[in-house]
Amino acid sequence: MRDVAIAGYAASVSTEPYAGNEIELVMPVVADAVAASGLARDEIGITVAASSDFLVGQAFAFVRGLDAVGAYPVIDDSHLDMDGAWALYEAWVRLQVGDVDSALVYAIGKTSAGRLHELMPLSYDPYYVAPLSPDPRALAALQARCLIDAGVASERDFADVAARVHGADALELLRAPYVASPLRAHDCPPVTDGAAAVVLVAGDAARRAPGRAVWIRGIDHRVEPHALGARDLTRAPSVERAAHEAGAGDVSIAELHTQYAHEEIVLRRALGLDDHVAINPSGGPLRANPVMATGLIRIGEAAANIAAARADRAVAHAGAGACLQQNLVCVLEGA
């Protein structure tokens, strides 16, 4: 294995609709991440982008995204219709292949253009689930309900998570109406426009980068069965497996892709995090959820905490699909 470090990270998020286009949104973020890495742009070995044309409603929007990185003369480029955390995984694999020494990963999530409750069902099982067009909040509520029925957690536990995130009083939050019982608005993520970029460097190049090196010590992703009915929604075996493979444990900070408050309870159990671990010091997806970039931001925020010496070892989690269907775990460590 080659040592790979996160040498630069930048993100921009807003819960107000962004008036510019995707390029205008992501370009300054890419520039900031590259500048932080100490690399010149033409030194970067490969770019891997994450975005969804469905999200912005424009065919080939992802090609225009290349304007943000400067694609002439020709660059080595890849694109995923997945969260940027998986783009980072692809870049990490490419660095393991060893023909390049650095990678730029960026993700664009202009969520305000479309309607997530219309869009997300298109990513579900096309025969059994998608034609029913379930609101993503309704599917999340199914998982929350399972936790309550199994005696794993209560609505008060969900409110405690939301209270910490929003700086509110849990009992006060419990008086709010349901949006999809047992979930309330504060248990659900806000519509967010945002972008994030991470620069990865490998081997000796990483050791020459400015600032405290943040090493990727383990990274793994796993998937649950496709059918919701085939899963025990009170658990996340794919997270447990990914955490085991990535060597998660003994961390002081965890950045988790908790789009819904109850998911923190599922993930905390799957990752074996005790009360000493600070969960989502960034505020997490309940405060800012630029779909496609949210998972990459978890890795970036965890890395930023290590770079600033607020932690020596951290775990980042990214999720995708209904009820934490697909999960990525990344373990980061300071030099």
Binding site: P17, Y18, N21, R41, G57, Y72, L119, P131
Partner: protein, 150 residues
């Protein structure tokens, strides 16, 4: 066994609020005023028309506005013989990539007021604008391009 279900209908409808963005908004506003305004990259000096808000080569924002004339050159073209629903242009017509004088990039334009057989690479053309009353923040504010009168 009963007959297999060979198809089922899955109605879907997606709604969007698409933002033109800062650069395209500037472009559309200038078209409504009956003039072309490109943008120059501060690093490589390429002039983008239409402006994209970014230099695709340098990956930096373009912020310098560059007023451009109505005249340009046909860089490439094709003759369209296939009707497009809702378009209403008499067939056949010439569709050209036009580079305005002083610009480094091209855009798609309709060529009129000349026989399609007379369109040539390098032909000098000029924009024909819609009247001030008809113009709006829309690409339709440019009706078409025609050969520059000698």
């Amino acid at each position: 066994m009963s007959d297999p279900v060979e198809r089922f209908v899955f109605p879907m409808r997606l709604h969007y609020d698409v933002a033109a963005g800062y650069a395209l908004s500037r472009h559309l506003r200038s078209l409504a005023e009956g003039r072309f305004v490109g943008q120059r990259c501060a690093r490589c000096a390429r002039v983008y028309m239409p402006p994209l808000g970014a230099c695709s080569v340098c990956a930096v924002p373009t912020t310098d506005d560059v007023p451009l004339p109505d005249t340009g050159t046909v860089e490439t073209f094709c003759i369209v013989n296939i009707p497009v629903r809702g378009q209403g242009i008499e067939l056949p017509f010439a569709c050209a990539d036009v580079k305005l004088d002083g610009a480094d990039t091209t855009f798609l334009a309709l060529i009129q007021e000349c026989a399609v057989g007379d369109v040539r690479l390098g032909m000098r053309v000029e924009a024909v604008w819609a009247s001030a009353a008809e113009r709006s923040p829309s690409l339709a504010s440019v009706r078409y391009f025609r050969p520059v009168a000698r």
